[in-house]
């Protein structure tokens, strides 16, 4: 059984490889828990602003990054920003939903990724991040950049890596096999874009997976646990490394339940490539000219041309990178639901 099979997108037989991730407790979270409850006097021109006035202001801070900076202005503001009720109520200007699509990670290959030799013939580049919106709305910067520019990668293991999944600021990649290595070694790494850390996962024997092929990859983070105790328990056990790997096999087809049809602009000859489900958008490629890629908003049906997309990208490797802002703030500011 050749290991290339695990990259094939087999539609008939479905299996899901899920990687469970328990990100280490961030430093900032520890700091917060040490804070005492005393309230900082917020002085604004010698007047004490009541909480609901500050909340009124914070609610209207237009972008998420500015709000994130507000959370360190003082302890009092931090507590107001970190309030889950506040975070849920706030209108997140980036999109209609609480999640916003920042962009896509994609590898640069002309040919498809299904065979091993194509990996080695590709340029020595890490996957690229292509922002979804032109004009610098993305918090990860206005322009195209390499995944390796987000994390510290001295060993250059991201060269030729293939993006597999992204969630909550984490990007899961498959590290390109070394030429000396057997084909059936599956090496995965996780890039934490928000903290700039790159973590290697334990090596897997891919021959175990060949039988059924891998249909998809997913990330489950510690913040997925709503229950404090539950998260803490897993934390203790898994603090050092990402040690849980499990495989779920499922027979049958994955079905999308369409509530309505979206008419992609027929003049542009668009083919959907991948779905960013949380923000309700689709990456679509122009069939006539692969230089052109569009982000289609499923709510409105509007298509925005992506800047920085080139025909050298292997669209099959495209992975949407979305951020759920309330979740992001809650996990970064040490809030538990």
């Amino acid at each position: 059984m050749e290991s290339s099979k695990c990259f094939d997108e087999e539609r008939t037989r479905v299996s899901l490889l899920a990687i469970s991730l328990f990100a280490p407790v961030s430093r900032s979270r520890l700091v917060i828990s040490c804070w005492s409850g005393e309230m900082l006097q917020v002085k604004m021109d010698h007047e004490l602003l009541p909480d609901d006035v500050v909340t009124d202001i914070l609610e209207r801070v237009p972008d998420s990054i500015s709000l994130f900076r507000c959370s360190v202005v003082c302890k009092h503001w931090r507590r107001l920003v970190a309030d889950p009720v506040f975070l849920r109520r706030r209108r997140w200007s980036e999109s209609f939903s609480q999640s916003s699509l920042l962009g896509f990670f994609v590898q640069r290959h002309r040919t498809n990724f299904s065979a091993q030799r194509n990996i080695s013939s590709s340029p020595n580049l890490s996957p690229a991040f292509v922002p979804a919106s032109p004009g610098g709305d993305s918090v990860l910067g206005p322009g195209r950049r390499l995944l390796s520019s987000f994390v510290r990668d001295d060993a250059r293991i991201l060269d030729k890596a293939k993006p597999l999944a992204a969630r909550g600021g984490l990007v899961l990649v498959r590290v390109a096999p070394r030429s000396s290595e057997k084909n059936n070694i599956l090496r995965l790494s996780v890039c934490n874009l928000l903290t700039g850390r790159l973590e290697r996962l334990p090596t897997l024997d891919a021959s175990l997976l060949d039988e059924i092929g891998v249909r998809g990859y997913g990330l489950i983070a510690a913040s997925d646990y709503n229950d404090d105790d539950d998260a803490a328990r897993h934390h203790e056990r898994l603090a050092h490394g990402y040690s849980t790997l499990f495989q779920v096999c499922q027979d049958g087809a994955l079905a999308w339940h369409l509530t309505r049809f979206i008419q992609l602009n027929p003049g542009k000859w668009l083919s959907p490539v991948c779905v960013a489900e949380n923000s309700g958008t689709v990456l679509a490629l122009c069939r006539l000219n692969p230089e052109y890629a569009y982000v289609v908003d499923l709510q409105s049906g509007s298509a925005t041309k992506m800047q920085g997309w080139t025909s050298s990208f292997n669209y099959r490797t495209a992975v949407p990178f979305e951020i759920n802002w309330p979740m992001f703030f809650m996990s970064r500011l040490g809030v538990h639901i």
């Binding site: 700091v31 604004m44 202001i57 209207r60 801070v61 237009p62 202005v73 302890k75 874009l193």
Partner: protein, 174 residues
């Protein structure tokens, strides 16, 4: 409505009330304008503020109060129309222009306005000034925000926290 007055008010806007600022200046305004304040509305409905009585506002000085009333008088006709569903685009654009100009003011005035809008519970004004401050915050570093809003100098602990944040989340400061 039998409104003999000329102008936009169609709500019997003849009735006047008197408001007294903290420094004892008396302001006579239409009840409809003063009623934009949730705090004053009940008093006015009860018949207060008329005649020689006046409603004392010990938290608002005369400079701030005249500014607040300027807002209320401008917005009262639209508010009387129930959020002005039938207002023309021109009317709305005019109000927007007025609002933009209205908050284009010195910071110390802005802060007094925030407090007055809060105490008097004038919803539109509250969100207008909050939006103004929020826009001032946009794109600034935590330290710049503190300076802009006149916070005292940070404690060493606060300074360390800000530095650590910038270090850990460099992407948010690019």
């Amino acid at each position: 409505m039998a409104a003999p007055e000329s102008g936009d008010g169609n709500n019997g806007a003849a009735r006047m009330v008197t408001l007294i600022s903290s420094d004892n200046t008396r302001f006579e305004v239409e009840a409809a304008a003063a009623s934009l304040s949730q705090t004053l509305q009940l008093t006015i409905l009860d018949g207060g503020g008329g005649g020689g009585d006046g409603i004392p506002l010990p938290n608002v000085d005369s400079a701030t109060l005249s500014k607040v009333l300027e807002y209320c008088i401008k917005h009262a006709p639209a508010a009387a129309n129930g959020g002005a569903p039938n207002a023309t685009a021109v009317d709305r654009a005019e109000l927007e222009r007025f609002d933009n100009e209205f908050v284009n003011i010195d910071q110390s005035v802005l802060y007094s306005l925030i407090m007055a809008a809060h105490n008097l519970e004038i919803e539109g004004l509250q969100s207008l000034v909050a939006k103004k401050v929020a826009d001032m915050i946009k794109g600034k570093s935590p330290m710049e925000i503190r300076r802009t809003l006149g916070f005292p100098d940070p404690t060493p602990e606060e300074q360390a926290e800000m530095n650590a944040h910038m270090l850990e989340y460099g992407w948010a400061y690019e």
